[in-house]
């Protein structure tokens, strides 16, 4: 029983609750760093490391951190781990640091990490939290890798730098191609989900950790009682 549920903690992030394709979190790095498959892996691994460490520490401190300052406390802890990962990458894999550029420190505002801290790690014991972080991280990496392979193959004709097809459709590695490929992947995920009779995402807000804050005001302001779609979101 126990092993089975641990297994579930790990696998749910990969397929059922994939943070990118099902919850639509972390869209900024998903679009920005997927110009090549190797960049996608670098970003995915860095984010996974941060996610596991921050989940572990937040879960450890979940009874100590006062509720009032919990978000600033989470952000501080996450920022600390992001900086540590950044320094390690700079020291041991400088080429990855150069190609990820600003998106490495920006892991700090990646909503997957704050989202998991708020929704999972703050309520669960340490070990499942680490597994949850690992699963979500692997799911994030897998989605990024998928985007990266498609964009690199179509855009430069290569995968991991190995020439596979002779044509290059440049637009795929430019920003418009990023939006397009991401849109198509979500369409496929939606199609599969609706076949399985599951809920389909139609806004980036559903999985957003700040959505509660938004919902209250957005509904007052926009009179959108019935529409979950127009919930102002944010966090990325």
């Amino acid at each position: 029983m126990a092993t089975k549920s641990y297994m579930q903690e790990f696998t749910k992030g990969i397929i059922k609750e994939n943070p990118v394709l099902c919850l639509v979190l972390g869209t900024c790095p998903t679009l920005a760093v997927t110009t090549s498959a190797s960049n996608a892996i670098g970003m995915g691994v860095a984010a996974t490391a941060v996610l596991m460490c921050s989940n572990a520490v937040i879960s450890m401190l979940r009874k100590v951190i006062p509720d009032k300052v919990r978000i600033p406390a989470y952000i501080t802890i996450i920022a600390g781990f992001v900086t540590i990962v950044q320094m390690i990458v700079k020291a041991f894999a400088p080429t990855i640091n150069d190609s990820l550029g600003i998106f490495l420190p920006l892991i700090v505002v990646n909503c997957i990490i704050l989202g998991r801290a708020e929704m999972y790690a703050s309520k669960n014991p340490v070990f499942p939290s680490i597994l949850d972080g690992l699963g979500m991280g692997v799911g994030f990496t897998a989605a990024l890798l998928c985007m990266g392979i498609i964009r690199e193959l179509l855009g430069s004709g290569t995968v991991f730098g190995v020439q596979l097809i002779p044509v290059q459709i440049l637009i795929f590695i430019l920003p418009p191609g990023g939006f397009f490929v991401f849109g198509m992947l979500i369409a496929i995920a939606n199609k599969l989900n609706s076949k399985a009779g599951k809920k389909v995402v139609d806004s980036p807000c559903q999985g957003c950790p700040m959505s509660k804050t938004c919902k209250s005001f957005a509904c007052e302001k926009e009179n959108c009682e019935n529409s979950d779609k127009e919930v102002a979101p944010d966090v990325s």
Partner: protein
């Protein structure tokens, strides 16, 4: 020369280096709050305001406090805490002294703390500060850049809100409905911004 370079920085931040469409920063609000024109404008103005304010505060702190003391590695953590603090402060001040403005902008403020466009702007302007070259950014450049980034965000949001209002009435294949078609529309808007590449350098040559 200074005015020229400031204008060029401003235009570049709006058109060729648009934070949303070219640099992929701040995608969540771009996709989430662009459905109605008034919310799109409100969000963008709040973002612009916080961007300029955050740059105004973080730039000197980094240059004159962190770098001289060899603490540049604390950049991420210091910046995110400053931004979080600033947003709270602005919210309190607005609520107390300018309630009318709070009504229209204040509601977006709590969402902005973790918007990656804000942290991105404060960090990217510092990357352009390089005293060994003639292309260095001064404090003025940094402020103009963050203002341009905000205006660029506004332009992208307003354009996209227009595009989305058309999608509302269109007949879309079932599996593309919702987010996928929004992303395809974003792709087309980003495509139009590609046309600006090289535009600013041609318009205002700096050499």
């Amino acid at each position: 020369m200074l005015v020229k370079s400031l204008v060029s920085v401003f235009l570049a931040a709006i058109l060729t280096e648009n934070y949303v469409l070219c640099k992929f920063l701040g995608i969540c609000p771009f996709l989430g709050v662009s459905k109605k024109l008034n919310t799109a404008v409100g969000m963008s103005v709040a973002v612009t305001f916080v961007m300029v304010l955050a740059t105004a505060v973080t730039f000197p702190i980094y240059q004159y406090l962190l770098v001289p003391n060899d603490l540049a590695y604390l950049q991420t953590i210091v910046f995110i805490l400053i931004i979080a603090g600033l947003v709270q402060l602005v919210e309190i001040v607005l609520k107390k002294y300018i309630p009318s403005l709070y009504q229209s902008l204040g509601v977006y403020l709590p969402l902005i703390t973790t918007n990656c466009a804000i942290l991105g702007v404060t960090m990217l302007v510092l990357q352009k500060v390089d005293t060994t070259t003639a292309y260095t950014y001064t404090y003025g450049h940094a402020l103009v850049n963050s203002l341009g980034a905000g205006v660029g965000f506004l332009v992208a949001m307003v354009m996209f809100a227009g595009v989305r209002s058309r999608i509302e009435t269109a007949d879309i294949p079932k599996s593309l409905k919702g987010l996928p078609i929004t992303l395809v529309a974003a792709s087309l808007v980003a495509l139009s911004f590609l046309g600006f590449s090289g535009f600013v350098d041609k318009l205002i040559p700096l050499q």
